[in-house]
């Protein structure tokens, strides 16, 4: 995957790249998993890519959602002709 520090065929990095998302998700069959893991033992760059890809996915799992503002929710109810459910407290 990188342009340096490789003492083996870059083609193998490229070949495995397309399967890394499935690997991170645990959706890859056993043979391909073993192939990726064997490759990572020899290729620091690919090990870092897999690790940081996994971290990317985990980081976004923790991304908080901005809730719909209360006034936007009220406008939504009014637009849907649901005024009966908007009260004054």
């Amino acid at each position: 995957m990188s342009t340096h520090n490789h003492d083996h065929d870059h083609g193998e990095c490229r070949k495995l790249l397309k399967d890394l998302s499935d690997y991170v998700d645990g959706d890859l069959d056993e043979t391909l998993c073993a192939e990726i893991e064997r490759h990572m033992d020899e290729c620091d760059n690919c090990r870092v890519v897999v690790d940081t890809l996994r971290k990317t996915v985990l980081l976004y799992h923790h991304l908080p959602a901005e809730p719909m503002p209360g006034d936007a929710e009220l406008r939504l109810f009014r637009r849907l002709d649901l005024d009966a459910f908007v009260g004054v407290s």
Binding site: L63, E66, L82
Partner: protein, 207 residues
């Protein structure tokens, strides 16, 4: 101050709510909006990148959902159906914003060369253990906005909203394998963009 007066507990489960929606019950419609509104707003906001437009997308989506409830066949969860309508509304609006000059699917980013990872420094971050800084959250949000819309929608539904591959594919009306391709491209692009920030942070900490 005006607020909402809805009892969310009057329907025993989703099938009961759907029956009431199909019967045209306004209380059921209010429940659906109250229950799912924030999720749909979150998706619309991230696709559009603008709060006012996200609000309009959600309004359009729920108007559409309430008016065509009869077309809901119950083969997916109600939320998946709503995600589909909301995502469509958002992508349509984006297409209009671009004045129909650019297809939403082109450029999909990236030829194969663009997908190759270039940032190869390690990150000193443990997503499961540490609170994320405001700065990192902003970097993450900004990175999502740089994705082409079709990849952005796939990533938001699957990795941020947490839909399954099948649900996200249904919501986008694409096959699961197409969803996986988009997701993979989005993840690689985001990894690359976050790396610019996180690898640098890790280097600074190591000094």
């Amino acid at each position: 101050m005006a607020g909402l007066t809805i009892d969310l507990n009057i329907y025993a489960d989703e099938p009961a709510l759907i029956d009431a929606l199909l019967a045209g019950d306004k209380h059921a419609c209010a429940c659906m909006v109250k229950h799912h509104g924030s999720q749909m707003y979150a998706v619309a906001l991230r696709i559009m990148g603008d709060a006012d437009e996200a609000e309009e997308v959600v309004q359009d989506a729920f108007i559409s959902a309430c008016s065509k409830m009869a077309s809901f066949e119950g083969r997916s969860k109600l939320s998946t159906w709503l995600y589909r309508i909301t995502t469509n509304a958002a992508l349509m609006r984006l297409r209009k914003r671009r004045n129909d000059t650019v297809s939403l699917d082109e450029p999909q980013v990236m030829d194969e060369g663009d997908l190759l990872p270039r940032q190869l420094g390690d990150w000193n971050v443990d997503p499961g253990r540490q609170a994320l800084s405001q700065e990192l959250l902003q970097v993450m949000e900004a990175a999502v906005e740089t994705l082409p819309p079709s990849l952005r929608a796939a990533f938001i539904l699957r990795d941020i909203q947490g839909l399954s591959t099948q649900e996200a594919a249904e919501a986008l009306d694409i096959t699961e394998s197409a969803l996986k391709v988009r997701l993979h491209r989005a993840r690689l692009a985001l990894r690359e963009r976050l790396a610019g920030y996180l690898a640098e942070q890790s280097q600074e900490m190591a000094l």
